[in-house]
Amino acid sequence: MKRPIYDLTWPGAAIFAASVCLCGVGLLCIIAVEGTAGAAALKQVVFVIASLAAGVAVLAVGYQRLGRFAYALFGIGLFLLAIMVLARVIGGLPMISPINGTYRWISLPGFSIQPSEVMKVVFIIGLAWYLRHKEDVRRFKTLIGPFMLTIIPMMLVLLQPDLGTALLLMPVLFVMLFAAGARLRHFAMVALLAVCCLPLFWSRMEDYQKERIAGLVLQYESVRQRVENSPENWKWLCPDGKSAALRWERGAGYQLIGSLGALGNGGWAGQGWRNGAYVRHAALLPARENDFIFAIIGEQWGFAGCLGLLACYVVIVVAGLEIATRTDDPFGRLLAVGVVALLGTQTLINVGMTLGLTPITGMNLPFVSSGGSSLIANFALIALLINVSQDRPFLLARKPFENPEPNYAGLR
């Protein structure tokens, strides 16, 4: 029992409106960075149109039909990631060449694909499909399956290497498990396990990755001074301690200093569209149309503009959770929770890194940052959400997740 495609329902309409607003802001920023409405803006418009088309396609297919192919899609995602890893191992394949030493892109004529973005979508579908009827999710043994579903793509993404995307999958898994009704005790055990694994994980990380995480504390002058005075005590945190501290302002910290500067320069009301030192000068803030787009939004429209932007994300999360509450289909509900978790977490991490609250990882701001793959993936995700909301209540179905005692909604 489906509504027609054009009937978005109110939460769906709200999500759609918010995401289109965000796209608009992103487009304005890209124009501001480029100086005129030129090639980059045109490209972004094309991407938006392509993304909308992808969204319509998802709506047309329907999430339940997609769910039936969930594992096949998951397999395709893994396959793409495996190719990237292969390319890295043998040092390049046709259409895959390293950019800044990482293998993240498959270049096709005219555009390029980022397999990790594809993975985000198929990961949520696959995990939701796996968890949908698991009543025994409350037993620890059955948690191993979802963990494997997460760990394998995570490892492949890490090998690209792409720390940010890899770390993004874990919170999504946790939120979905939590929503699916896993016991808190188990979470605690997993958390303990994770803490135990942390030193191993840390020691396997590259120096530059460590430096980014160390940046969270190195951004403070007093910490840098301490590292500089006794580098041997801080070796665990930043391996080349002294030089990392000395070169902070021009090395690892350069982007952070730039983004804080841009935000601060915005003040209450901002410098206005296309105005501001950091908007106009790439040398002051690299990647400002991409990972650091939030910083130049802050510079152009100030504190007020930032609040407005964040409000759009709040709308997506609240409406997404509303959709999850309304639906009675367990697969749809898990899907909705997964999408909300992914978009919400990615937003928080991106904004957090702009503000110096989270490590600087190559993660963009959903809907706003320039870039085709992520835009298409994000619109596919919200199309899934809207599609879930279009499902009419299936009154006779058992309410999902309300374990352990069965609860028949229809009899209540």
Partner: protein, 788 residues
């Protein structure tokens, strides 16, 4: 509305948003002002300092003695000197991509280098599109390597390795400055913020000393290929200047030389204004400042003020603060006279085997302008740095000593006229007063004798003489009597104080007002001086000794010249070295004219009348319209120590080493320096080795002296001669109504007693001035310039 667990998810996310919002509020509202200023600061693309030219130093006729000669250097930004600074390369790439005009220029240059005349706009556009894809940090890195290669092919002696080591040297040095600054500031504050020191945002010369042609060559070749590096401030052709001293050695002490500033100079500089963001007045690392002579004395007007050029990233036009060049300083010295006298001294000293050096001062009496201020020997200021170790260890001739103002010796007989003037003016004697000289003050005392001529065993007997004759014969006994009168009639120490007051009136024991920092005060002993410095009360023998210029009294050659100028004119005033600067003219003293006449006549007789002490040495030989009136003097001294024998423990035995030194502590230092190993030792170890060496010294004793041979009576003396030129009247006798214009003082160290060695020098100087520089002695305009 939400189920329980979904509510928890919502709350967790909202909590994240709240944290983000709070942090945003802190950044954008609380700290907005700070970041707004920060943005303005970061809009500065680069800042360049514009160096001023240091003022020239000229002689009185406008001849250039010292000037800044322009020199160019290729300077490279600090961050480009640092090896493998990828973030800088990335930044350069961003800046190049941002500036489409610059990119187009680079494309055109590339085409031109390939031999393609860039008329086809499509070709250029294609290249720009290609460049836009290519330009990133790696591209910049390879371009910069190509730049270094091109730079190293500039001349065969600069390999890429050389340039690399030089770059490392520069960055190391800046690192040390920074460390020093951090330490200095950390001493003041607990948590000192690490400053980004100015040198980290500046270009530093890597290829220096380009001349005009080389600079044009280098610049055109480099610019053709790497114009964008120049435009982004990573490379520049720096306008530097180098001090050049155009005179030979003769003026080295007077003009002085420069040295590099130390960190203390930078901190204590009186022009430093730390509250200004861009302090243009203060010293910076590697600045040169005056170390001696006029360069030190007139440091502030000479150095000028640097300017700056600030280039912004946005549309603002570059802000240019012009540098202010230093002011020229004109000396009163006549270069021609100075160099002629220097050569004369050079010839004289080379003939006298015992004389290590000397000094000649020539003053213009009415204005007290210094016409010549010669110290011999001297050094070449252009190679001063490299010669320094050798110069500073020359303990025989002391070429670095500015003898004319900083060597103080006993004046000897040249103060006898002063004693007589003082006694007359104090009312102790008059023109008729005579004393009887029988060779001794008291026949029963061996001390207080009159002077002993060369090759004679007994001192001279002058008989009953008056003041004029006392000067003529340079009678000690006459002056002893005057000293006694001061002591007895004016109340003991009080009388000595009166005598000292007269020395002060005629300029002894204080600076002459010339302004040179090297100048010594000399000593005009008073009872206070004796009590303060010698820890003894004044004695009756003191005024006797001071009356003949012995004992604690000391004067410099410049003071001696000013003294004789006062004898000749009756006026006393400060000496001037700089023209065009305010100065007080000489003032008259409370002395009767008749008294001045007595001493002038006495000095005339010293040189020109049979029986005078210097007639054989100083009388002008040529028939000239002037007479030389002078007074000789000898300053008794002991021999100088030139070498020490240092005995030290070596293992179990004792060994000894001879080192050049004139004091024991200097001998210790020199010993340590000589015994240090040849090869380089790390700093921390070197200190330990020095300490060990110092401990191993057992004793040091003098073994060699100057002069080498001791004289018969164990007396050595420095030879003084002071004189002035008095015009002759029609009758061939001196015209005492005419004004004398030239005063001369000569000092030859270890020149022997009396006027034997210094008299002829003074005579030669006087004849040379009369013949070659007549405009200084003619009574026309006091400062008439020679017509050229």
């Amino acid at each position: 509305m939400f189920e329980r667990r979904l509510k928890v998810v919502l709350i967790v996310f909202l909590a994240g948003w709240v944290i983000v919002t709070l942090r945003l509020f802190q950044l954008q509202v609380v700290q907005a002002d700070f970041y707004r200023a920060e943005a303005q600061r970061r809009l500065i693309k680069y800042e360049k300092t514009l160096e001023p030219m240091r003022g020239r130093i000229l002689d009185r006729n406008g001849r250039v003695l010292a000037s800044d000669e322009p020199k160019w250097a290729i300077a490279i930004h600090y961050r480009m000197l640092e090896p493998d600074d990828d973030s800088y390369y990335g930044q350069l790439a961003d800046e190049l991509l941002e500036d489409s005009k610059l990119l187009e220029r680079h494309a055109r240059n590339l085409l031109r280098l390939k031999g393609v005349t860039a008329t086809d706009q499509n070709l250029i556009d294609d290249l720009i599109v290609y460049l836009r894809q290519e330009v990133n940090a790696q591209w910049v890195a390879s371009e910069i390597e190509a730049f270094w290669q091109l730079l190293s092919t500039r001349s065969p002696d600069q390999s890429r390795e050389d340039l690399r080591t030089r770059a490392v040297d520069i960055t190391d040095m800046i690192g040390r400055w920074k460390a020093a600054l951090v330490t200095r500031e950390a001493l003041g504050e607990e948590e000192a913020a690490r400053p980004q020191i100015r040198e980290e945002t500046q270009c530093h010369p890597i290829i220096t000393e380009l001349d005009r042609q080389e600079r044009i060559d280098a610049q055109s070749r480099l610019r053709q290929r790497f114009a964008w590096l120049f435009d982004l401030g990573a490379v520049e052709v720096a306008d530097l200047s180098e001090r050049e001293y155009h005179q030979a050695e003769c003026l080295a002490h007077v003009v002085g030389h420069l040295r590099e500033v130390t960190s203390d100079d930078i901190a204590e500089s009186p022009y430093h204004k730390p509250d200004q963001p861009n302090d243009l007045g203060g010293y910076r690392n590697r600045d040169m400042k005056g170390e001696s002579g006029v360069e030190l004395m007139r440091e502030q007007p000479l150095r000028g003020r640097r300017g700056s050029l600030t280039v912004y990233r946005d549309e603002r036009p570059p802000l240019r603060i012009e540098p202010v060049n230093g002011k020229d300083i004109t000396l009163t010295i006549d270069y021609a006279m100075q160099s002629a006298i220097y050569e004369l001294l050079d010839r004289t000293v080379s003939k006298l085997s015992e004389v290590p050096g000397g000094s000649v001062v020539v003053l213009d009496i009415p204005t007290r302008e210094v016409l010549a201020l010669v110290s011999y020997p001297s050094y070449d200021p252009n190679t001063y740095r490299s010669d320094y170790p050798e110069l500073s260890r020359d303990l025989r001739t002391f070429p670095l000593h500015f003898r004319a103002v900083s060597r103080q010796h006993e004046p000897g007989s040249i103060v006898k006229p002063l004693t007589i003037v003082a006694a007359h003016s104090a009312g102790l004697i008059d023109e008729q007063t005579r004393f009887d000289c029988q060779g001794r003050l008291d026949p029963n005392m061996t001390k207080f004798r009159c002077w002993v001529p060369a090759n004679a065993s007994e001192s001279i007997h002058h008989g009953l003489i008056n003041s004029e004759q006392a000067i003529k014969g340079s009678c000690n006994v006459f002056c002893f009597h005057l000293g006694d009168l001061f002591w007895k009639q004016l109340g003991g120490a009080e009388g000595l104080q009166r005598m000292s007051k007269w020395m002060d009136r005629l300029g002894l024991g204080r600076t002459t007002g010339i302004g040179l920092r090297e100048e010594k005060y000399g000593i005009a002993p008073s009872p206070y001086y004796l009590w303060d410095q010698k820890r003894r009360p004044a004695q009756p023998s003191d005024p006797r000794n001071y009356a003949i210029g012995q004992g604690e009294m000391q004067v410099t050659p410049l003071q001696a010249a000013n003294l004789v100028a006062t004898y000749a004119s009756g006026l006393h005033g400060p000496v001037r070295l700089l023209k065009h600067e305010q100065n007080t003219p000489p003032k008259s003293l409370p002395v009767e004219d008749s008294v001045w006449r007595i001493i002038r006549r006495g000095m005339y007789q010293v040189v020109n009348v049979r029986g005078g002490t210097a007639t054989q040495y100083a009388k002008l030989e040529q028939p000239l319209p002037y007479v030389l009136c002078g007074k000789s003097g000898s300053a008794q001294t002991t021999r100088w120590i030139t070498d020490y024998l240092v005995t030290y423990r070596d293992g179990d035995g004792e060994r000894s080493e001879t080192v050049p030194a004139n004091t024991e502590s200097f001998a210790h230092d020199e010993f340590v320096r000589q015994m240090m190993p040849e090869e380089k030792v790390p700093r921390d170890q070197a200190a330990g080795i020095r300490k060990e060496l110092r401990k191993s010294i057992i004793q040091a004793e003098p073994v060699a002296y100057w002069p080498k041979e001791e004289s018969k009576d164990r007396q050595h003396s420095h030879a003084w001669f002071v004189a002035f030129l008095q015009p002759k009247g029609a009758d061939g006798q001196p015209d005492w109504n005419a004004q004398a214009r030239i005063a001369i003082a000569v000092l030859l160290e270890f020149g022997g007693s009396g006027g034997r060695s210094s008299g002829p020098v003074c005579r030669d100087v006087a004849e040379m001035i009369i013949n070659d520089f007549p405009h200084y002695v003619t009574a026309q305009h006091p400062l008439a310039r020679r017509d050229r």
